[in-house]
């Protein structure tokens, strides 16, 4: 008898046991707790929440632990859990101008109302391995800001340009935004659908696409108008109480890119905007998202579609982490029935070919 690729239940079971051991590593080393991951790997937790499309740092930390640090796998776990949750309703749109900021920078102004707040960032660190960390870190006390971070609304940098009408106004279409969880992505996708797809899209893919626009594939001269990260309150409307109720506070990152002018016979030139928003501390992701969002606005701005980042079918059909990783990895599944029919075909074609050659 043969065994071939027929695996069977026991093989699968054993494989999963081996995976458990791989995850745990050397049992003499203390086990990581989810709390440790949540506290000490906040950026990994942020990415899992953003692409997993679920704001829950505890479950994101659990997913990271379970996936042995494989981010794509952790995102998958979170998404697969999230899909089973019933949808109670929609929150009111968050107001990022009311953000309790931890970080807020603008590259387009030297200073602006509310000031530049550098906050926690890798920027300007020298990327030198810190061997002291390999032992135990000595943590200095966190610096105190001179003024307490503003509690009153902190206007977005883009408002300055809006006031002068130098930035193309974002028009509220008053249409209910598409909900990609409830309806399939269909083309052409409106901006609400595009932004949702990008918000949960793979950071690496979006970063490379954004990069491609900077290098000349649909170049649109971006400036980082503003990047902010911090905490916003989430409100839901209660029918019974007829009022808006705060249900908690979430951490988000937001980026607004200011791009090259558009204008035509009827409208004077104006800057245009690309927008990025993500759960958690996800600065690079929101910057990439803003670049790609801007590139995808080509139809609305009457720009010729010439580059991959402008092609919404190309971008949106391929940006999802789960879609991409699933389909690439499915090649590991047995395909021997189809391969058999290809074998048979190629043998036929080759024998026909050599018969014809013999005739000549």
């Amino acid at each position: 008898m043969y065994v071939a690729v027929k695996g069977g239940e026991r093989a699968i079971e054993n494989a999963h046991k081996l995976l458990d051991h791989l995850r745990r590593g050397d049992a003499s080393v203390p086990e990581l707790s989810c709390e440790q991951i949540k506290q000490q790997m906040p950026l990994a937790v942020s990415r899992v929440m953003a692409e997993g499309a679920m704001y829950d740092p505890d479950l994101a930390a659990l997913a990271l632990k379970q996936s042995a640090g494989d981010l794509v796998e952790a995102i998958f776990l979170v998404r697969a859990y999230r899909t089973t949750l019933p949808r109670f309703g929609y929150s009111i749109a968050i107001e990022t101008s009311e953000m309790r900021v931890e970080r807020r920078i603008s590259a387009t102004y030297k200073d602006l109302p509310g000031g530049q707040v550098l906050g926690p960032t890798f920027d300007y660190t020298h990327r030198l391995l810190d061997f002291k960390l390999a032992a135990e870190s000595q943590l200095e006390a966190a610096p105190k800001t001179e003024e307490p971070v503003k509690a009153e609304p902190l206007a977005r940098a883009s408002e300055i340009l809006f006031k002068e009408q130098l930035l193309k106004a974002e028009v509220d279409t008053e249409q209910t935004p598409t909900d990609l969880v409830q309806e399939p992505l269909q083309y052409p996708a409106d901006r609400s659908a595009r932004l949702q797809a990008l918000a949960r899209g793979d950071e690496g893919f979006l970063m490379s696409l954004g990069f491609s626009t900077q290098r000349g594939y649909s170049r649109n001269h971006p400036f980082a108008g503003e990047i902010r990260m911090g905490w916003v309150e989430v409100y839901v409307y209660s029918d019974e109480l007829d009022m808006e109720i705060c249900v908690g506070e979430i951490q988000v990152s937001e980026c607004s890119m200011i791009n090259q002018f558009a204008g035509d016979k009827n409208n004077p030139p104006q800057f245009t905007q690309g927008y990025g928003l993500a759960f958690g501390f996800n600065e690079r992701k929101t910057m990439a998202m803003a670049l790609v969002d801007r590139a995808l606005r080509c139809d609305e701005l009457d720009e010729p579609v010439e580059s991959p980042a402008q092609n919404q079918e190309f971008v949106l059909s391929h940006c999802d982490t789960l879609d991409a990783s699933g389909f690439v990895s499915h090649l590991k599944l047995p395909h021997y029935v189809d391969f058999q029919s290809e074998l048979e075909l190629i043998r036929n074609l080759r024998s026909r070919f050599s018969e014809e050659k013999d005739h000549e």
């Binding site: 043969y2 071939a4 690729v5 027929k6 695996g7 069977g8 239940e9 093989a11 699968i12 998958f76 998404r79 697969a80 999230r82 899909t83 089973t84 949750l85 019933p86 949808r87 990609l180 969880v181 409830q182 309806e183 399939p184 992505l185 269909q186 083309y187 052409p188 079918e313 059909s317 789960l322 879609d323 990783s325 699933g326 389909f327 690439v328 990895s329 499915h330 599944l333 047995p334 395909h335 021997y336 029935v337 189809d338 058999q340 029919s341 290809e342 074998l343 048979e344 075909l345 036929n348 074609l349 026909r352």
Partner: protein
């Protein structure tokens, strides 16, 4: 385990209803790809999530489920999907084609004739038969709507001009009920005739691509061809080395590094039944 945290069939009832609505539409428009709000499933896209969602939406407590991959019940992914449904539905499962009321499959249709009391669920990776000719979804939807399929035959024409025959051996496109051209999923063309006028409801689910389509019972399914180059399914000059069947789809098993081979049925249930029959008649 945490199974009890999940609904019967894993999906919540609203999601199931949404999928069943799409199914009704798919049955009403044979071969038409109905977009639906596909859900993430706890297995990767490309590993059968479309089929799993369909099965999860139609399965009931009294159903008996069979899952095959490459025709076999014991391939790793078939085992994994069967176990999933055992966990989240606790339904009866079987390896016997005749006992199953729902058969989820990847890449094969069982050899044993199916009946009106069964439903086939196919896992589909790329539902769009025009995709490799026309990458734009906007354009292919229009081509389907207007039945503009000339370019499909151009592909077949090119095959004959270059190779002397139609060089498509699996996922062989077929016209359903005189209108829509569909991808029958990557089954070998050997299985295409089983789709035509079948008593069984055939459902196709593409999870990642978020499309559902169907061939209702007793519907015409015509594999594309030319009058002078008719569609021909694969045939073998050999018999199955295990059961002696002359009419089943055979897998080639390489048994050593000197090129020795066994040819055996890909449908493991069919093969085992055949073998059992012979043992009985030998007794």
């Amino acid at each position: 385990m945490s199974e009890q945290l999940y609904n019967f069939g894993y999906l919540d009832e609203n999601s199931k209803r949404m999928i069943r609505r799409a199914l009704l539409k798919a049955v009403a428009l044979p071969g038409y790809q109905v977009p639906f709000a596909g859900k993430e499933m706890p297995m990767p896209y490309g590993w059968g999530t479309g089929g799993v969602q369909l099965t999860a939406s139609i399965i009931g407590k009294k159903d008996c489920l069979k899952v095959i991959d490459q025709g076999a019940d014991d391939t790793t992914n078939a085992v994994s999907i069967r176990n999933f449904f055992k966990r989240v539905c606790d339904v009866e499962t079987t390896e016997e084609t005749g006992d199953a009321t729902v058969i989820q499959t990847r890449h094969r249709i069982p050899e044993q004739a199916l009946t009106e009391n069964q439903i086939m669920v196919f896992q589909v990776p790329i539902p769009e038969p025009l995709r490799y000719i026309e990458p734009s979804e906007t354009e292919t939807r229009k081509m389907h709507a207007l039945k503009e399929y000339g370019v499909m035959h151009v592909k077949l024409y090119e095959d004959i001009a270059r190779h002397g025959e139609i060089a498509t051996s699996y996922a062989y496109p077929a016209e359903v009920n005189g209108h829509y051209i569909m991808d029958p999923s990557p089954i070998p063309k050997f299985d295409n005739p089983k789709l035509d006028n079948s008593p069984t409801l055939m459902l196709f689910g593409a999870g990642r691509e978020k499309r559902i389509y169907a061939v209702p019972p007793y519907t015409n399914v015509k594999s594309l061809d030319f009058e002078d180059y008719p569609f021909t399914p694969q045939t073998w000059t050999r018999k199955c080395d295990l059961c002696g069947s002359e009419h089943s789809y055979l897998d080639e098993i390489v048994t050593d590094d000197k090129g020795s081979r066994l040819w055996v049925c890909s449908d493991t249930d069919f093969c085992q039944k055949n073998q059992a029959k012979q043992e009985q008649s030998n007794v």
